[in-house]
Amino acid sequence: MTATPLTSTQGAGRAGDKVFSGAALAAGCLILAVLFGVALFLVIQAIPALTAPAGKIQGGQGFFAYIWPIVLGTLIAAVIALVIATPIAIGVALFISHFAPRGLASGLGYVVDLLAAIPSVVYGAWGAAFLAKEIAPAYGWLASNMGWLPIFAGPASTTGKTILTAGIVLAVMVLPIITSLSREIFLQTPKLHEEAALALGATRWEMIKMAVLPFARPGIISAVMLGLGRALGETMAVALVLSSGALTASLIQSGNQTIAAEIALNFPEASGLKVSTLIAAGLVLFIITLAVNMIARWVITQHKEFSGAN
């Protein structure tokens, strides 16, 4: 008598519970399936290129001879971007977290986020139309004064459309990523550590060196890794800025190419084996960025209890 009405009236509710939790579970699994599907479908479409006879691949020397120079080009562009962006990003993050007046800090953080909001194609257009022109004289100077370094070997590009320009544009694009992650971590530094350092008579820089930076080191490393992931996969900045060509050591001549730009420039007109070659190149890029991101996330989870990032 008492139990039956309760269970019978709630039959519908129980079904709703099942449906809803099932839907939530399915959505979660769908995400795993999508990531798995990304890998699977890329592999399916890439197989023809990987198994094709060497002569049929672009360049005529097989897939690995084709992919090797553009993998190196991708790494060169990403390394340039990180070398430029990392110190500046850490400086900006420190400025917002520890130097700027308290009232200004959140507004300044928003300004840096604006950098991240600008679409990549606009950065590419800016790099091609403005930066390349402005920076070309500097390349001429580098070639004539520091040409003995292989990376600055002349003759310098007169249009400025070089891998170094592309790297600078990439640096601008990864800067907000590294900045916002490092800022989060700098703000998590235990206040007591900072105050203890200041109370012992440390200057502000000594306090940062002794309390903030050691605490934030794993966070900075993973922020840089995430920036690296972004720089590796960024397409438009390179496709629009770089006048591509064969692999060269000189950063101030036209030449070099990155995987993402190679795909973007050739995929729309590609057909047949060329499509699977490009998809195979995308697979290589996917594996590289996946490895970089997984290492970065792993570093973050290792230090989660300290940093609280993400």
């Binding site: 709703g16 519970d17 939790s21 939530a24 579970l25 959505a27 699994c29 769908l30 995400i31 795993l32 999508v34 990531l35 990304v38 890329l42 479409q45 110190p87 500046i88 990003a89 850490i90 400086g91 130097f99 700027a100 300044l108 300004v111 604006l114 950098l115 909001a117 600008i118 679409p119 194609v121 606009v122 257009a125 800016w126 139309a129 403005f130 601008v172 200057t203 820089w205 000594e206 995430l226 590796l232 996969g233 397409t235 438009m236 496709a239 629009l240 795909i263 973007a264 995929f267 729309p268 499509v275 490009l278 998809i279 995308g282 996917f286 960025t289 991101n293 997984m294 996330r297 989870t301």
Partner: protein, 370 residues
């Protein structure tokens, strides 16, 4: 009494001895600006070089003065401060430069009659040559690209929001930090880092296998954008659901409300402002993506309002093709004017979305809680 105090007041207190006076940075800055201007006057003046030289002189002057008066520790502190402030100013340069470039180049394109209401259908190089030679108006516009961007982004949102929101609900309400929940969290984080072009290739490869080789439509592009959008939606909704106070859930359970009704009627309405602003930010992020649309939707020059058939234009790919392959190769100026006009429209769209996200978060924020 007064005779013993006056000498102390006129000299500097023992506590502040060995410190730079408070006006020191301003004095050094003024000196640096003047000397910098003098140096630049000798070399040939330009404002950028003046700023750079003055900044260097300021840093050197302040640090060496500090080293002489205050000792090396304070000098190092001043040097670090100079570097940190300098890096912030350096980071502002590209932002200002990009916005300035887009405004200067974009406004002529934007105020061209018909720019927002016509497509590129039938606009050939001959028209552009004529516009350059006779100085007439630049033909063609971005209506087709605007329409494509709105349609593709809308479809991507329709796909991503239910999936992302349900996943966030699973993680917060059902996952209990189990193995599956941990795996999903980890892979959602990894998914945030997928290069956008790889997402495009995935959607292209998927439809090549399922529908047939060479399938390029707006819907494929929407799937590609969803791959990029879902992780952003999951992360932001998860954060928002997590901060819903547990007391609200327990109160609902205590009244005998089922779990799914609790989630639908109590938890999600409480967090809806944060979720909505997160979704808006996710839209702002994918609306500017170029590479995935380039490999999935091709580029059309005419209006195509069918997402499921035929190539489709979008604002980012429009900018890209107008710059890389001008409509008239001999006279690229009209094309670049259109490209910059489209870039200005795109930036305005993104900024509006960012602003709307902030407004939503502020206006619909729950009265209690944060």
């Amino acid at each position: 009494m007064t005779s013993t105090l006056t000498p102390v007041r006129s000299k500097r207190s023992a506590l502040t001895k060995g410190q730079l006076p408070r006006y020191a940075p301003y004095a050094v800055l003024a000196a640096a600006l003047i000397v910098g201007a003098a140096i630049m006057a000798l070399l040939g003046f330009n404002p950028f070089g003046w700023g750079l030289v003055s900044a260097l002189l300021f840093a050197i002057g302040l640090v060496s003065w500090s080293a002489a008066v205050e000792g090396s520790r304070k000098a190092k502190d001043k040097l670090a401060t100079c570097l940190v402030v300098g890096s912030f100013l350096v980071a502002l340069l590209p932002l200002v430069s990009v916005i300035w470039t887009v405004l200067v180049n974009g406004i002529p394109g934007l105020i061209d009659p018909g720019f927002l209401t016509t497509s590129m259908n039938g606009v050939t190089g001959a028209f552009d040559n004529k516009a350059v030679e006779s100085g007439g108006p630049v033909m063609g516009g971005i209506y087709h690209a605007l329409l494509g961007t709105v349609q593709i982004t809308l479809l991507a949102t329709v796909i991503s929001v239910p999936v992302g929101l349900l996943t966030a609900v699973y993680l917060v309400e059902y996952g209990h930090d189990g193995r599956l929940a941990k795996a999903i969290t980890f892979f959602v984080d990894v998914m945030t880092g997928i290069p956008s072009i790889v997402a495009g290739l995935f959607a292209a490869a998927f439809f090549f296998v399922v529908v047939g080789p060479g399938t390029k439509t707006g819907a494929v592009a929407a799937v590609a954008l969803s791959v990029l959008m879902i992780p952003v939606v999951v992360r932001s909704s998860e954060e928002m659901l997590k901060i819903v106070p547990n007391e609200l859930r327990e109160a609902a359970y205590a009244l005998g409300v089922r779990k799914w009704r609790t989630i639908l009627k109590v938890v999600i309405p409480t967090a809806i402002s944060g979720i909505a602003s997160g979704v808006t930010l996710a839209i702002a992020r994918v609306i500017g993506e170029t590479a995935p649309i380039l490999v999935t939707a091709g580029f059309a020059t005419s209006i195509n309002s069918n997402v499921f058939g035929g190539w489709m234009a979008s604002l980012p790919t429009f900018i890209y093709t107008q710059i890389l392959n001008p409509t008239s190769p001999s006279n690229p100026d009209p094309s670049s004017q259109r490209a910059w006009g489209a870039a200005l429209v795109l930036i305005i769209l993104v900024m509006i979305l960012n602003l709307v996200a902030r407004l939503i978060a502020r206006i619909f924020a729950p009265k209690t809680g944060r």
